[in-house]
């Protein structure tokens, strides 16, 4: 089990009611962690339409996560 910080943006922040939370998790990848938080907070957007960044760098859903990582969950984007 590791401790990571999950950060939420836009509609994810509204659904969770918080900007971030520290999680004790057995998730090995960013994707595992997303599934965990999406289930708990009832996110409705499918993972493949969302994005993830680890420590301020965009990453793939299969990227490994480590103790102390800050994992940013981005809902579907709408720039422009």
């Amino acid at each position: 089990m590791i401790n990571v910080t999950a950060k939420y943006f836009a509609v994810f922040r509204e659904k969770t009611g918080k900007e971030s939370e520290v999680l004790l998790t057995s998730a090995a990848t960013a994707g595992d962690l997303f599934t965990e938080v999406a289930t708990r907070h009832l996110f409705s957007d499918p993972m493949l339409r969302c994005k993830v960044a680890i420590n301020d760098e965009l990453a793939g859903w299969d990227s490994g996560i480590s103790e102390g990582d800050i994992v940013l969950f981005f809902p579907p984007v709408a720039g422009g």
Binding site: F9, A10, V11, E14, D45, R49, K51, A53, D56, E57, L58, L72, F74, P75, P76, V77, A78, G79, G80
Partner: protein
Amino acid sequence: MSRSNFKITNEPIDIAILNQTLRDDSAGAYASFEGWVRNLNDGKNVNSLDYEAHGVVATSEGEKILIEAIDRYKLVAATSFHRIGHLEIGDCAVWVGVSAQHRGPAFDGCRYIIDELKQRLPIWKKEHYQDGDSDWINCLTAKD
């Protein structure tokens, strides 16, 4: 001269000044795109909207997109600014400007940049409607 320049900003975009930064004696063509807040999206009457971004990731991804476009289309220079915060109908939310020797690459490079920005930048938009409702928009519902 810096060939690429991407910024997320709270301030109105000063296009006349940015246009000047793209100039070069070898550049014969300039193409630009502006995204304006419009009063209708997906059949709903929009009053105003709020943009939110993850500044660090959006800026580094935006810069990456400009460099890809410069390499791919042999642009002389490429710049883009994206607004965040509260915007009203008619405000310019995003501006892209590129210069190139000839017009084909200028158009293609400008189009590439805006298409990629819309798909890759961590930026979100909440629309406020005339009926008092508001909603987060995503790229499935947003046509532009």
